[in-house]
């Protein structure tokens, strides 16, 4: 298991039922424990790619392998395992939090895995402790601040003990302190991390490696600092560092 890449994407292509093609042959390989930033302009296919990582979309061409196992959306048992292995955190925490209390929301995934109630409780308290939200366990998610909801959303996924965590725009809408706190939480997770983001300084802070996805293919792959220093490359793909930011 250790020699195989945590994630292997090979020649992945995908078109939506309306004919719009979003991915045109994506190749990507990530080792266990890596932290990768997936950069790219709006409409580049980032979300479509992410939906392939836990079998929400099935590969139409090429394949995706998690820990050496190919994702097959027809295989229900295998899919369940994949979804426990690859955790997805959505951009809008409100899409992810729908139960009446924080506890029930974090317990939702472990319960679906068929764990015993005592084990579920351990999972919930561990996950909430990791994101520093233990004291809110009985609150309705609806009443939390945006930054707190984002952290609970991360906990709902951590409670499933994934080995790969995929986050869509984790820093969006956070105030600066919440943003730093989230960065600290994510940095401390002993886990493979894939982060879709527009926030280049956030990517720089957390990920050693970055790739740029544009028009449905990977157009750059390398160390984050090297990519962010290549002004011409950034400009070509509508990426740019905020004014006053220096590496």
């Amino acid at each position: 298991m250790s020699s195989k890449p945590a994630l292997l994407i090979n020649e992945l292509a995908f078109a939506y039922p309306d004919g719009h093609q979003a991915l045109f042959g994506v190749n990507l390989q990530i080792a266990a424990g890596e932290r990768l930033a997936l950069l790219g302009p709006n409409g580049a296919g980032k979300t479509t790619l992410v939906m392939h990582l836990n079998g929400i979309h099935g590969a139409q061409h090429g394949f995706v392998e998690i820990d050496g196992e190919r994702i097959d959306v027809g295989d229900k048992v295998g899919l369940k395992k994949i979804r426990a292995t690859v955790g997805l955190v959505f951009q809008d925490p409100d899409d992810q939090l729908f139960m009446p209390t924080v506890f029930e929301d974090v317990a939702f995934g472990p319960r679906n895995m068929g764990l015993a109630p005592s084990e579920v409780e351990v999972r919930v308290s561990d996950a909430l402790a990791r994101v520093g939200m233990s004291q809110f366990v009985d609150r309705p998610p609806h009443h939390l601040s945006f930054g707190q909801r984002r952290r609970v959303a991360v906990a709902t996924v951590l409670a499933m003990n994934p080995s790969i965590l995929v986050l869509d725009e984790p820093s969006s809408n956070l105030d600066p302190a919440s943003r730093r706190e989230l960065a600290e939480i994510l940095r401390d997770l002993p886990i493979t991390l894939i982060m879709v983001t527009h926030d280049l300084p956030f990517a720089y802070e957390l990920c050693e490696r970055s790739v740029i996805l544009a028009e449905g293919t990977i157009v750059a792959d390398g160390s984050t600092s090297k990519i962010l220093k290549d002004e011409e490359l950034l400009e070509r793909y509508r990426l740019e560092l905020p004014k006053g930011f220096s590496l």
Binding site: N54, L88, D94, D95, Q96, M99, P100, N112, M113, M160
Partner: protein, 222 residues
């Protein structure tokens, strides 16, 4: 539509003409036939109902393979299927050839109360926003290994409904505030729009007129 519904089923020639009329329109408008067919499946429950009808009735009857079929029932059942299908085809044609907005405009002209039209246009504006939210929530559930299998799962689906309601209601409140801050005083400004030209009127009334003509001629010829 009214013409169709009032035509007695025994005037079967008229029905043939109605069907050819509506099918001509569908072909002229180049609607994808498969889609039209799929969408017509919506009337299936009523077709089933109609299929049962020949077994009921009084008066003239036939014996077919051990069943008693009544003429009255056969006629009524056929009528339901024929009229229902015409209705469904008509509505599909309308919705496929006109945008939702045009239909709303039409309703406005037909003197549907302004408030109803406004509520409906808010609905059309936000239907994508809310169904997108719903789809993302579905994916979020699936990502955490949830699959709705039976009644046990209803409580969870109901939580989703509750969240959807709260999000929609709160958005409604925010939209109201946004309207207020742009000077809304309770009356939505009307969009001035050009009155339809006579030619358009002619096109609009041609189909019902033709249908009426057929219905009348059948009656007169009898």
């Amino acid at each position: 539509m009214l013409v169709v519904v009032t035509t007695p089923i025994t005037n079967w020639v008229s029905y043939l003409v109605y069907f050819s009329l509506i099918i001509t329109v569908i072909l002229v408008a180049r609607l994808p036939l498969l889609t039209v067919f799929k969408r017509s499946l919506i009337e299936i429950p009523f077709v089933l109902f109609a299929v049962l009808m020949p077994f009921f009735g009084t008066g003239e009857s036939y014996q077919v393979g051990g069943f008693t079929l009544y003429r009255e029932g056969i006629l009524a059942g056929t009528a339901i299927v024929a009229k229902g299908t015409l209705g469904v085809l008509g509505a599909i044609t309308l919705s496929s050839t006109s945008t939702a907005r045009e239909i709303l405009r039409g309703l406005e002209r037909l003197k549907l109360p302004a408030l109803m039209v406004n509520i409906a246009s808010f609905m059309l504006r936000y239907i994508n926003v809310v169904t997108d939210e719903m789809e993302r929530m579905r994916i979020a559930r699936a990502s955490r290994g949830f699959e709705a299998k039976g009644i046990r799962d209803w409580r969870i689906l109901a939580s989703v409904l509750a969240t959807l309601f709260m999000r929609s209601y709160e958005r409604g409140e925010r939209v109201h505030l946004a309207m207020l801050s742009r000077g809304f005083t309770g009356v939505l400004p009307r969009t001035p729009d050009s009155p339809p030209r006579p030619r358009q009127y002619l096109q609009v009334v041609s189909l019902p007129l033709l249908a009426l003509l057929i219905a009348l001629s059948e009656r007169i010829l009898r």
